[in-house]
């Protein structure tokens, strides 16, 4: 059972996609959030508080290019800026600095065109919980210009393929487990066969079998429908299995980018190991409080000792 093509919904009519253009261009993008100002900002206490006003630089000068048909993973700890980046790509946030283009269309200036090319799965399965998967997905399908009768057939096909039983398709979502709800969220994004699919931790909370189902779907979207996929994840195995390249983000900055095999080799060399290290070790290396350099390795004797010493130093400072 194949995933339907978006072309049949005529959503992409009058949208020109130049095959030579990169699918995603993120060019020196930054996003800062400010803590809201107190009501009586003129009072002395409030002024003192404002001196320490909290400004969070969620995304800090990130540059990344994704080719059409590529699957790129964005790895990072909680609060590292992955979701902020995805939301800027989804036209839900406006970058403070830099520019983002999707198939040559600017996410701010050409917002409406970009919206026709993308879909997104967020970490929380966001639905009207009192409504059934069918009602929720029918609503989404109509927003993406899909006629009701075609949508109903496709919704059943995709949900059945994701392992949702027919009687659950018309029952309220609130009675479903989180994993099942997440599958429905994934079905919603797949329903419109987007040219660019943004997956923000899509498999969090799913059992191993469901993860494999989703990963197979992601591969199919790319291989059969030539979709480009940007996925954020905490699951290093998933990143390794799915992604052509990964970017590691730490405190809003992109600290590494490359094929997993190359990153593993680089870190292994630094750790003076003959065998490639695991992706977990790569992640730990790049997101350590202090990026461990060759000098650190020499000074402390090994990568592990340098890591321990620098982490202890950070804890003491805190």
């Amino acid at each position: 059972m194949a995933i339907p093509d978006l072309e049949s919904t005529s959503l992409l009519k009058n949208v020109t996609i130049d095959p030579a253009v990169d699918a995603v261009v993120i060019d020196h993008v930054s996003k800062t959030f400010k803590k809201s100002r107190p009501l009586f900002a003129w009072s002395r206490k409030a002024q003192e508080e404002r001196k320490g006003e909290k400004v969070v630089r969620a995304v800090d000068d990130v540059t990344l290019t994704v080719k059409r048909g590529e699957i790129v993973g964005i790895l990072g700890a909680n609060g590292s800026g992955k979701s902020t980046l995805i939301r800027m790509l989804s036209t839900l946030l406006i970058p403070d600095e830099g520019r983002i283009e999707i198939f040559g269309y600017d996410v701010v200036k050409d917002e409406y065109t970009v919206q026709r090319l993308i879909n997104r799965v967020s970490v929380e399965a966001s639905f009207f919980k009192k409504l059934s998967p069918m009602e929720n997905l029918l609503y989404a399908a109509r927003l993406y210009n899909m006629p009701g009768n075609i949508a109903r057939t496709r919704i059943r096909e995709i949900l059945t393929r994701l392992g949702i039983k027919p009687d659950r398709i018309v029952a309220p979502l609130e009675n479903m487990s989180r994993g099942m709800q997440q599958k429905v969220a994934i079905a919603r994004a797949f329903l419109t066969s987007p040219v660019l699919l943004l997956l923000d931790e899509p498999t969090t909370g799913l059992d191993p079998r469901s993860k494999i189902d989703v990963q197979a779907f992601v591969h199919e979207l790319r291989d059969v429908h030539h979709a480009t996929i940007l996925i954020t994840t905490h699951d290093m195995d998933e990143a390794e299995d799915l992604c052509d390249r990964v970017a590691i983000i730490d405190k809003g900055r992109m600290v590494a980018l490359g094929r997993t095999v190359d990153l593993k080799r680089e870190v292994a060399t630094l750790m003076e190991r003959d065998e490639p290290v695991s992706m977990k070790e790569v992640f730990m290396h790049y997101t350590a409080s202090h990026l461990i350099t060759e000098e650190d390795v020499k000074r402390y004797g090994s990568w592990e000792k340098a890591f321990e010493a620098l982490e202890a130093q950070r804890e003491e400072e805190e």
Binding site: F33, L92, I94, Q115, R116, S126, Y139, L143
Partner: protein, 276 residues
Amino acid sequence: MSSLMHQARASYAFFERNWNLTKRYWAWEIVWLVYNIVNALSVTLISYTAQDLSGAKIDTNYLIIYLLIGTSVWSYLSVTFEGVTDLIMIERWEGTIEHTFMAPISRFTHLVGSCWYAIVHGLLFTFLQLIIVGSFFHLDLSHANYLTAVVVLLIGSISFIGLGIAASVLPLLFTERGSQMSYIVRAILLLISGVYYPISVLPGWMQPLARVSPATYVLDGLRSGLLNGATLWSSSILNVIWPLIIAGIISVPLGVFIFTLAEKYAKHTGKLKRNG
């Protein structure tokens, strides 16, 4: 043509979704209906004591219908407003707000799609309330012109949509209590529009405000039609219809414009996110 079909389909998506939500929250609908009926009755029953309290001879039937029209319009306005502002709040609560805002549809389609369900819902709700409350009294409506009443209410609804869209900016910008903040818009309309009294009793400085409120003209038109049997082409009705048409033409684009500005601000500050 294809784009028009898309926007029409999307507009229907909001109608269908809201209808599905109403079906699922049926208990709330009953509670809300009972609340409005009790509220309308408690106001309308004042008519029976007015003569005793003032000592002057009063046409009780006239006063009952006068107040009944006030409570019904107030209820209609409340249900319609609630329908518009609550949807932003529910979408925020459920987390669907981001999906709706990243869908490839115009904001006009989004807002008007949500509003036309609110209007149909409000009309049915108010009609039901009117029938039930009316059954408590032996009303003489032999002079009433129902066509006038329906036309005035429908034309007035356009400006209510505009006001509702502008008020829904509050739940968009104030993530936690924005929906409750929109009550202030309704409260001001209640005060200045002559819901329970003629606007002539308002202090002088409030009179200009009353004249720019579309609810004032809806109430005037309904009272002329139902109490005096004014026809659609009578001068008293034409005098309320043209301000309502102008208010409708101005308020909907203005409401969408205000909402678009608020959306831009929300996208700069990260307020378009779930809450709950």
